[in-house]
Symmetry: C4
Subunit: 124 residues, 4 copies
Amino acid sequence: MESIGRKRWAIAEGYIPSQSSFSDRSLVSHETACILNAGDSEAHIEITVFFADREPAGSYRVKVGPRRTLHLRFNDLTEPAPIPRDTDYASVFESDVPIVVQHTRLDSREAEVSLLSTIAYAQA
Amino acid sequence: MESIGRKRWAIAEGYIPSQSSFSDRSLVSHETACILNAGDSEAHIEITVFFADREPAGSYRVKVGPRRTLHLRFNDLTEPAPIPRDTDYASVFESDVPIVVQHTRLDSREAEVSLLSTIAYAQA
Amino acid sequence: MESIGRKRWAIAEGYIPSQSSFSDRSLVSHETACILNAGDSEAHIEITVFFADREPAGSYRVKVGPRRTLHLRFNDLTEPAPIPRDTDYASVFESDVPIVVQHTRLDSREAEVSLLSTIAYAQA
Amino acid sequence: MESIGRKRWAIAEGYIPSQSSFSDRSLVSHETACILNAGDSEAHIEITVFFADREPAGSYRVKVGPRRTLHLRFNDLTEPAPIPRDTDYASVFESDVPIVVQHTRLDSREAEVSLLSTIAYAQA
């Protein structure tokens, strides 16, 4: 399929609650960057994570195969360093081919599940 | 009315929970692509569904009449194959006339209802 | 202030639940089009409402003063006809000056409050 | 890092509930403008707040350092005046360097947490 999207994206919101009301992976509090690579070339993506009071972390490097989607949990990032919990952050995605990025949080600190989602900002 | 929108859209997020706390159709866990065709020609739309670890499914084909909206549930897609539950996916919409696409999920796995929504990504 | 925004906007999602767990106006299930007119001229806006299976309703006409915001509840529209509850709809906004439109739903069908919001689609 | 974003942003939605079910700062009802300044120059930002029935308030002035994110709570703004609670508002952000703005609300009026988020409107 013809590719769709942009090569540079930003998510200004970011916050992973340290607490959860559930132990099931699907219901643990988490943040996800949903990445779609609809094109026919593998996407090589560098993610930089920004904080309020210190220099950015990264680059985190992920690959998304051609015609694949990766719902990347920020919770799972470890290299070069885990994303701290209960901490404001933001992120920038730089890809070598066009991708689409959507940001989602599931918050289960209290007994029920709460969700937010938005398309990320695409640099024209 | 003059048409509004774009012909190519993408939703990078996608996840239909297999569980629900309610049996009423309006409260069963579901994902919807809300499609608006404000123009005066019928829209013929091909939807391709992307996964993390296998080739895309589709095309799913839907029509939206002139001056009509279709709130299409991914749960209801069957041809060529149902969308698997509890599985990460993404989608691309290709229409022959301009449309607008918005993505919404209702999650009722736990006892209360949680919602997310975002405008989809429109290819310029 | 210099105006900001566009003159044509669309919201593809639309659904007002008929039920609520609360009687307080702020917690009754509702949908809102938040309109910002940051410029120095009054905005005259025509809203057309689209349905799945019949011709559009409208135009609904609203004004937003210069340097004012109007958080317009779809629940409150009456002329030329109320928006039906428990019914899929969509909407298009046409203004004579640039405005910004954001779509929000508060759903209190069950005992807790659920929220969704997204920037609407702006025609370039 | 090369900057990303735009210099003028608008959030048409705005509403800070006066009530909360929790006293912990992270769970008090609040609205946030998440601002990312990915570039190498400090961002000087002027925020104007719009209301339904009176002239705008502001400018509120904030700085965001190079390569930093600020998750600014509207609840915390005091100069020139606090944002009234239980009141519809909207906001415009004007920066001297490109930034990205995302809008988030946490509503804990009832016993559970509800969230909404969307990318703001970026003036091209």
